[in-house]
Subunit: 406 residues, 3 copies
């Protein structure tokens, strides 16, 4: 075997194993969403998480991959059925690159099931999950990672704070808003907490997600040719998560008098989401600062949507993935220092900040527009919400005829 | 370090990490089997899953590895105690190859605990688990992977639809038949569903198995010298699993009026089992077709054994691992296209189909014969089934003095 | 890419992926500790496990890493804030080595939460967790792995039976002793069993830890330049775990009349802890013997501390990590055969045994002394134990305002 072949074997191994870790995040999302909701809807939420990956696999292979990476225009890739055209970097087999991109697409898709939990029709959810993987995610993904117009502008989103997480977050926002709140969530204009049924499972889910993020961010190098970069990404990713947890712990302790586990778990996730855009270009110190801010931001954002905007998001997906995805992407403009970028705090001027804002805004506009068309379309055709009786008695029995627990 | 040493390090890393993922399938099996059975038997089923791996580790090291890979005859390897003789491919340390083979042997062993759940004596199960790892699995494994007569014939089972899964499936069939159904399973000739106690845990188990399969199938290349092959295996494995899930979802929805999570989880597993034989040689399209068929087959097979044959298999192991192991192995004869094989659908003639049938039949005959000797032997010596009282009150208290839940 | 760069990429990949597996042990510890304790304290124990990693990440990065690896004296490294000075072996980026060391430090820290479960003030636990990662673990770690005086003497602790596990074990001993037993544990001088609430979760935790150990021990090679060594470590690690499980199974079956799952899980962990020091230098046979002994030792040790010493250790951390960490480190002196060491059983004389005893004793003295200062310091300042009312009603409500289950 020659050097080039060995290098190709090594890089293929790298993206497949990190891709497998990203796949494992599907289990993490399933546990977080199941743990943070009520036991009468557990079968339903697990089933949605399972199926969005199954359906996403088929449709992203059928057309999504080509739309995202095909060399069409700056706004749209190409219809290339069956993912047979090679879009991988040199040395990586096309199918390895496809697998890695597929698990990213599936991450965006699965975020939304949490925000829409406990009241969405199963059939409508399946249609949504096909749409995001076929068209919504691939189009904005093409802009940033497929050589599209945002890539050309210099917009920097290394592993997907905007491309993956904010897309999921914006669709969560629209989906939860179109659905309306769960029965009992708001009484006389006051938001009631509806506690999840199993915090142990939710915590395990967060650990699985944290582990999966060691695939998500470092794997996005697509190569081991720069070990320093890969190592930095491990450290910045981990540091932001830890700092997010510490900040939420302290902030909830001061604010509510007691440190809260559920919110601190969201603080960890907020740190992970926020560091994703700039994990390659910030220092560990920068990562800790971003993590600390995101751990506070997620608390304020959850309260804002819950009490002010009054959108019922059972797991906090809008705040964790949407708001912190935006925040982290913006922070690249300030904290970038390594890997060829220089942020405002290191003397880099405001250009990068502006570019980041344009990218954030464009992806938000696209996602929200798609969400409005899709979710209102579902609402006024097959319906998007289960009946009152079904919601009160739990979706598990009516939608699936199976309780999760016996 | 020279190129050969680096290549050896890379391949060793590859089979050890994929082996670790296969090890992790032990946890997946434990969760699936525990989740799909009743809470009064949870300690027992966890304990069986733990011990079959512990015992399997010792006895496969003592003699199983030599029987499987020793260069004896085409039918039997050699008694080579302590696994000290090198059977690894060039560049891989013997102990790395041993570890990889051990976790495969343990997978075959642990399949059976699900089919025999909720009524088997713990001591008898431990004896069974030693026998499969000492002799049953290694002998038929030798035929296919140890240079034996089926290998010579050109029988193709890349990662073990037949070698691993069907052996587990056939032993499940014999074990469950010899044991008889659980009390209350059949009343007046009618099969009653006995729902598992925790579908969340069962779902998590399926995600762990799916993850583990990214070790099981791609790791079976034993090398990264062909990155295209490794990448294709990731994609075919994943595609068949996803297609299996989609097919079962649709089929149960139509057949029963509601989509069922338990059965869909089995559909995913069926797709994984079925693609295992041909994951290296089918295209993604072929994998999806195989997955779709296996997702339907598993439903029909579960119903057939449950209602027609009246063998009580609490987790569907016979159908998932046995029937779909056979089905997937056979499909190689039709769908093979890459990696030097050509199936019937691509103009390859019927030879491969016939060879596949011979291999399937020979391994089935061997496994069933061993199962009959073993399980009847246990039944008429130390006994194989717990008392009626013990079964009704749960095995956890009587066999172990420990409830899983307090 | 040249050969050196490729080798650097490979080794960096190796320690980052094995480091990620060690990170995943955090989830394993959380599950074991939550499963083995009561449901009224589940939020609390999960929260402690989460926060000791979050806090540990920040403080080990701030100063712990420098204290451990800085080139100060044989007794103490250096204050090198922000972990910026390179201490990595050639070819490994400093931040990759830092990440690998961080997850080891966090393992030591998290051991203690189990021993102190169900009665410790949350704030005191957080202070403890900062101290172990800032100073306690790094100082003794420096002695052995940072080029300190025990390293100079030839003390051999390959992956941390003493450096990681015994430090956690000794601090568990002191912490549990200073805290005193849980209410209801001892009545009229008799020890009462207080069963954990979820053995399924505990079992899953053990599988996660076992998986993580395939990072912990093999990753400690820090390189793939010796594939034989890496493969041996996988096999010895796995063999000791399996043998530990088998020995505890048999021993509890004989001793109590029934095989016990909880204790057998501890037997597996005991085997893993015990093999950690010598995983590189013992043969598979040696590993099995060490595992068998540790599986019996853990039972005797748990009984000894529970009934004779009367220290209440809810999860058996003192016996699993402390006693078996010591035992495994000592066994290196007897069973060493490979990797340049020769133990007493292979004609190596008593020098190594004596050196091992000195290392064990020195680390024990340091850890116990630090534990006494720290835990008595906490006791007589902010207090270390929750109120009687809080303990009886559960820490979840009073400390966090959140039950784990609804």
């Amino acid at each position: 075997m020659d050097l080039a072949a060995l290098s190709s074997g090594l890089d293929t191994f790298w993206i497949l194993i990190t891709g497998a870790l990203v796949f494992f995040m599907q289990a993490g999302f399933a546990l977080v969403e199941a743990g943070f909701t009520r036991s009468k809807n557990t079968t339903n939420i697990l089933f949605k998480n399972l199926m969005d990956f199954c359906i996403g696999t088929i449709v992203f292979w059928l057309v999504g991959y080509g739309i995202m990476f095909g060399s069409g225009t700056g706004f749209f890739g190409a219809f290339e059925p069956f993912s047979e055209i090679n879009h991988a970097p040199a040395g990586i087999p096309n199918l390895a690159f496809f697998f890695f991109q597929l698990v990213f697409a599936a991450t965006a898709a699965t975020i939304v099931s949490g925000a829409m939990a406990e009241r969405t029709k199963f059939s409508s959810y399946l249609i949504y999950s096909a749409f995001i993987s076929v068209i919504i995610y691939p189009v904005s993904g093409h802009w940033v990672w497929g050589g599209g117009w945002l890539a050309s502008m210099g917009f920097h989103d290394f592993a997907g704070s905007t491309v993956v997480h904010s897309v999921g977050g914006w669709l969560s926002l629209v989906g939860a808003a179109v659905l309306g709140p769960r029965i009992g969530k708001y009484k006389n204009g006051k938001a009631n907490a509806i506690p999840g049924h199993n915090l142990l499972i939710g915590t395990l889910g967060v650990f699985l997600l944290w582990l999966g993020w060691f695939g998500f961010n470092p794997g996005s190098t697509l190569s081991l040719s720069n070990p320093e970069l890969v190592a930095r990404i491990f450290v910045t990713t981990n540091a932001a998560a830890a700092a997010g947890g510490c900040a939420t712990l302290a902030f909830t302790w001061i604010k509510y008098g007691k440190p809260g586990l559920s919110m601190t778990l969201n603080g960890v996730l907020a740190g992970l989401v926020a560091i994703t855009a700039g994990c390659d270009t910030v220092t560990p110190e920068g990562a800790i600062l971003i993590g600390l801010m995101s751990g506070i931001l997620v608390v304020l954002s959850v309260e804002f949507f819950d009490r002010v905007v009054k959108i019922d998001d059972p797991v906090g997906a809008i705040s964790v993935h949407g708001i912190n995805g935006v925040f982290g992407t913006l922070m690249v403009g300030f904290f970038a220092k390594e890997n060829g970028l220089t942020g405002l705090f290191y003397g880099g001027g405001t250009d990068l900040v502006v570019t980041q804002l344009i990218g954030i805004g464009a992806v938000a506009a696209w996602s929200i527009a798609c969400g409005l068309v899709l979710f209102f379309g579902l609402k006024y055709t097959i319906g998007i919400r289960v009946s009152k009786k079904e919601e009160e008695n739990g979706l598990d029995y009516y939608e699936h005829g199976e309780s999760a627990y016996n």
